[in-house]
């Protein structure tokens, strides 16, 4: 077993919002300014800590970094294990960043201020926990723990139909993920059959999968079942067609900050789940599932776009556009090509930025005109020129205009799907990307329609003398736009640090046992195109021993060293040729 490391930087990142929530709960309700200030301070603090994490992050490797291990429930193999890699790095930053924006925006809240900000902060910990956990049960715990604060936010501060929306959101996501829990326990059982030790350790499980010791004999027949148990939970969370119906309701009823977080981060927990668990742990089943998942992704892209186009409600339109955009993410990931998987992962970030910004703008608009229906809008451009300009940029980034971030992600995802289709990987053909490509055009159609209906046309006589955005609000939106432009002009800033980790995830899925990279092991080297550079032969016999597993992501993995000189994880099992 790996030596306990104690709590470190990542735990600090998880603890900061939680401490913030406690602090907020102890401030009396009447000091609402103090509550808001404290919430903002702790949100900023969390953001600062995540930036420190980013600075310590070593982009040249696909391994888990900053790993922490604290024993918890020994007899069941459940432990506190957290770590970060390229896949989760940007999601962590996106989460803390969007949280600052959400808290900033929420300063207008006057109803039950204390509870509101406590919920926002608890939600932040839960979301970060999902991205950082390296233990299946810990992952599940955070995955589920995010439900309650979000449901409560919809419940207390939501719109008119909030009861229905909150219950639907809760029931849908919980019902899907309880099967994941059963699947997780089954995985721990399989780990025991392979090694004699019960363990929920993700790194250890993945090492067993990569070595080809976990999926043998009878277990192999279980693999598709377990894959779908996990995939269902993530598909509902994404959400993919036909499990998307909770999303429009939840978005429409949630308060604006809730919508921003929901679209920006919560949905990513689904796609992240595929990258972190479903692909690396169930490679064969995932490859078999490619046609099904890709079909659903394509249907989701088209269906989301068509339904969005006919919505009378601007918030619902943005919600359905999320279904379509997340379809692109899944399309990229399940193309299982390097470009596709990078594009899918990048599109996650873009969606978080641009849809988050869209919800923010819709929220700002709602504050002024108290309606979300297109029928009550029109001709706002003359009254709110700054607002219109910002809205245009954000909308175009969501459309996927070259030069803005959405283009890069969608382009890469589609390119990956084309590559896979041309090569006929996993039963794919050219129809998948071809139909999905139509979705890009449809996105332009409905989003431009939306812009037209809101800002042009006859002025609604009820909407006169509207105030344009205040400087603070402009700053808030501009921050998001800054990243949208940055991501479109120089995407390498964002893509480079995650490329290796994504390449490793892809090879974990498409390669055969023995040729798969291992998070806890550096026998395989991957270059920046996601290809295997070289395989160092393992020491004979190192497969069958428990000692291989005992290397649970050594703490020194994050030490930046040249590939040649990188110390093999764990002295006892050094197997790299010098």
């Amino acid at each position: 077993m790996m030596e306990p490391t104690g709590f470190g930087l990542l735990s600090a990142l998880l603890a900061v919002p939680l401490i913030g929530a406690l602090v907020v709960l102890f401030v009396p309700e009447q000091f609402s300014k103090a509550i808001k200030g404290a919430a903002m301070i702790f949100s900023l603090l969390a953001f600062v800590v995540s930036v420190v994490v980013f600075q310590r992050f070593e982009p040249g490797t696909y391994h888990m970094q900053l790993v922490e291990f604290v024993p918890w429930i020994d007899q069941l193999g459940i432990h506190y294990r957290v770590g970060i890699d390229g896949v989760s790095l940007w999601l962590v930053l996106l989460t803390t960043f969007l949280n600052v924006i959400a808290v900033w925006f929420s300063f207008y809240i006057e109803k039950r201020v204390k509870t509101y900000f406590a919920m926002v902060l608890i939600l932040l910990t839960a979301m970060l926990g999902v991205f950082l956990s390296l233990d299946l049960i810990l992952f599940y715990a955070f995955f589920e723990a995010s439900l309650i604060p979000m449901a409560v936010m919809i419940w207390i501060w939501g719109g008119s139909n909030r009861n229905y929306a909150a219950v639907k959101f809760f029931v849908y996501t919980f019902a899907a993920s309880i099967f994941m829990l059963v699947g997780m326990i089954a995985m721990a059982g399989l780990h025991r059959e392979a090694t004699g030790v019960m363990s929920f350790d993700l790194l250890s499980l993945q090492a067993e999968v990569a070595n080809g010791r976990l999926w043998v004999g009878e277990a192999m027949k279980l693999q598709p079942l377990l894959f779908w148990a996990f995939a269902l939970a993530f598909m509902v969370k994404c959400p993919m067609f036909p499990f998307h119906t909770w999303l429009p309701d939840a978005h429409t009823e949630a308060p604006t900050a809730g919508s921003v977080i929901l679209a920006g981060v919560l949905l990513k927990m689904g796609t992240f789940g595929f990258l972190r668990l479903a692909l690396p742990l169930f490679p064969e089943a995932a490859r078999q599932a490619v046609p099904v998942v890709m079909t659903l992704a394509v249907v989701g892209i088209i269906y989301g776009a068509v339904v969005a186009a006919v919505q009378p409600d601007v918030k619902k339109l943005v919600a359905y556009s999320s279904v379509a955009h997340m379809g692109f993410v899944m399309l990229g990931i399940f193309s299982l090509t390097h470009n596709g998987i990078v594009g899918g992962a990048y599109q996650q970030l873009n969606h978080g930025i641009s849809t988050g910004a869209l919800f923010l703008l819709v929220g700002l608009l709602y504050e002024r005109i108290h309606t979300r229906l297109f029928a009550d809008m029109g001709g706002l451009k003359a009254q709110m020129p700054i607002f219109a300009a910002l809205f245009l940029i954000v909308m175009l980034s969501s459309v996927g205009l070259p030069g803005l971030n959405g283009f890069v992600g969608e382009f890469l995802a589609l390119m990956g799907a084309f590559e896979a289709g041309v090569a006929g990987f996993n039963g794919l053909n050219l129809w998948y990307p071809a139909i999905a490509g139509v979705g890009v055009i449809l996105a332009a159609v409905y989003l431009l329609w939306m812009f037209q209906k809101v800002f042009y046309g006859p002025v609604n006589p009820n909407l006169v003398r509207l105030k344009d955005l205040k400087p603070g609000e402009i700053a808030m939106v501009s921050l998001l736009i800054l990243f949208a432009v940055w991501g479109g002009v120089y995407p390498n800033t964002f893509i480079k640090p995650m490329e290796k980790a994504l390449g490793a995830v892809r090879l974990m899925t498409v390669n055969e046992p023995g040729q798969r990279p291992v998070w806890a092991d550096s026998t395989l080297e991957i270059d920046h195109n996601g290809d295997l550079v070289r395989v160092t032969p393992r020491r004979p016999g190192s497969y069958g021993e428990y000692t291989v597993l005992s290397v649970v992501a050594p703490a020194n993995l994050h030490v930046p060293v040249q590939p040649e000189a990188r110390p093999a994880p764990g002295g006892a099992t050094a197997r790299r040729a010098p």
Partner: protein, 510 residues
């Protein structure tokens, strides 16, 4: 000629906790005669002190040499001690919020306290004996007090109905239990549960059929008390009709006692499991399905929680079956852990629901909870924790309770039970959320039955239960370690202890 009998070794300490509780009840009865009018303060004080003393006496016995005493009439072991402590705790928590509730409902008879104390004592006897007659005695002491308590709200027809229904069906179930005892006593001449194994060891004796029948009838009697389907019909009606504090006590205490006794009967008749394991398999499935689906359509919070307690009995039965199927691999810890958590969240949520009583009226329909969030935010905050735990959402203890059951079920090959448990848990989310939802709805136009200020005692109970639910979750490892102590029931082969899970979770040597 008088047969020479060895003088039985008597360990008075084993009996001390129950005696203390009974005596506390008697003292409270005397106090009632001399107390100032309408003041239950002294009675509550005496009861609480008695319970605390009994709890201390129980705690003192942990770690002592386990074994039978009183010529095998009583037994001291880890399971019994844990469950006794749990029963005492349930009684104590119920008392803390009972007084204001009873006054609010204008049924401030002090008898509640004595009856609850004696009922607790009955439950404590039930969980710490392997003698069938003692088992019956404990069950009757527990039940008869409960019958009276259920009917305490004399002016309400619902409460009377509840008492009569409980009494009639309960008497019927007791008859089954007695008949079962007779069937086993007949061929063996022994009142000890060990007699079952004796018969099973000699199949050629021809008494096997009798033993199977006997065990079946014992199980029916106990399944009735634990409200397992198809012996559950009384539970929702009785829970609804009884005063809410009684419901809290009943839902927790009688379930703990019945499950404890059930565990002993099941372990003792492990040799006959080929006969009843398939039956109990279906009972568990039916209980989880019926409990959860019936709860979906209820309009009364107490009925909903009643069906939820049926469903929870199904969950714990899964844990028991897993233990009985492979006692060497799966200790009884899971069931104990679940019961502890179940008691905390059940008592806690009924305590919050008891807020919906005012001016002699009971308002427990969902719409009566409207606006509770505004008037008692702390209690509702705690209710959210209890409901999250009932659903099984981390980081509450209910999550680990269910996780351990999943674990046991999967590792003993009871996969269908694990799947049904998962599906029905998913279903349960809907009605559990309904309870929370009701408290969030604004109360404009609703009948305002909710009392304005939750009492200090009630807040204390909520705080304790909510904190415990969270702490037990974070400390799941030490807690289950402590519960494990020695969760093998006597009668199971001692040699198996070598095969028990070691601290690394490994089974035996590889």
């Amino acid at each position: 000629m008088i047969r020479e009998q060895p003088i039985p070794t008597i360990d008075w300490l084993t009996l001390a906790p129950m005696t203390t509780v009974v005596v506390a009840g008697l003292v409270a009865l005397f106090i009632e005669m001399f107390r100032p009018k309408q003041s239950n303060g002294p009675i509550v004080t005496v009861s609480v002190v008695g319970l605390a003393l009994a709890g201390a006496l129980t705690l003192a016995q942990f770690g002592m040499e386990p074994g039978p005493t009183f010529a095998g009439m009583m037994v001291r072991d880890q399971v019994g001690l844990v469950l006794q402590l749990l029963l005492i705790g349930v009684c104590l928590l119920t008392f803390l919020f009972s007084d204001p509730y009873l006054r609010e409902k204008k049924i401030a008879f002090a008898e509640f306290y004595q009856l609850a104390l004696w009922s607790t004592a009955g439950g404590m006897i039930m969980v710490s004996t392997t003698n069938m007659l003692m088992l019956f005695l404990g069950l009757e002491v527990l039940s008869i007090a409960l019958y009276c308590m259920a009917g305490m709200d004399r002016k309400q027809a619902k409460s009377q109905e509840s008492a009569i229904k409980y009494f009639l069906l309960g008497a019927f179930a007791s008859a089954f239990l007695l008949m079962g005892i007779a069937y086993i006593y007949g061929p063996t001449g022994s009142l000890d549960l060990g007699g079952i194994a004796m018969i099973a060891a000699m199949p050629e004796s021809g008494y096997l059929t009798m033993a199977v029948f006997g065990v079946g009838m014992l199980l029916v009697g106990l399944m009735f008390k634990a409200a397992l389907v198809p012996f559950h019909q009384w539970a929702p009606d009785v829970y609804q009709g009884a005063p809410t504090n009684v419901t809290a006590f009943m839902a927790a205490a009688s379930k703990v006692a019945a499950i404890g006794a059930l565990a002993r009967v099941l372990s003792a008749s492990g040799a006959l499991q080929e006969f009843w394991l398939p039956a109990l398999f279906w009972v568990a499935i039916a209980t989880m399905v019926v409990g959860n689906f019936a709860a979906l359509v209820q309009k009364d919070v107490k009925r909903t929680l009643g069906y939820s307690s049926i469903a929870n009995a199904g969950y714990v039965l899964v844990a028991l079956l897993a233990h009985v199927k492979k006692p060497d691999q799966v200790p009884l810890t899971t069931a104990l852990f679940f019961l502890v958590v179940y008691c905390l969240m059940t008592v806690g949520s009924f305590a919050v629901v008891s807020l919906a009583a005012k001016g002699g009226e009971e308002g427990t329909r969902f719409q009566d909870l409207h606006g509770l969030w505004k008037r008692a935010p702390f209690a509702v905050g705690c209710l959210i924790v209890f409901v999250a735990s009932l659903i099984g959402i981390p980081p509450t203890a209910g999550f680990f309770a269910k996780l351990f059951i999943f674990q046991d079920a999967l590792s003993t090959g009871l996969v269908p039970l694990a799947i049904v448990l998962a599906v029905t848990s998913a279903v349960s989310v809907y009605y559990y959320l309904g309870i929370i939802q009701a408290t969030f709805v604004s109360d404009e136009g609703a009948r305002k039955t909710v009392s304005a200020n939750p009492s200090f005692g009630l807040n204390l109970v909520c705080l304790f239960c909510a904190l415990a639910v969270l702490v037990v979750s974070l400390a799941a490892a030490p807690v289950s370690q402590w519960l494990r102590g020695s969760t093998q029931l006597p009668g199971e082969a001692q040699a198996r202890s070598e095969l028990q899970l070691d601290s690394g979770g490994r089974v035996g040597a590889r």
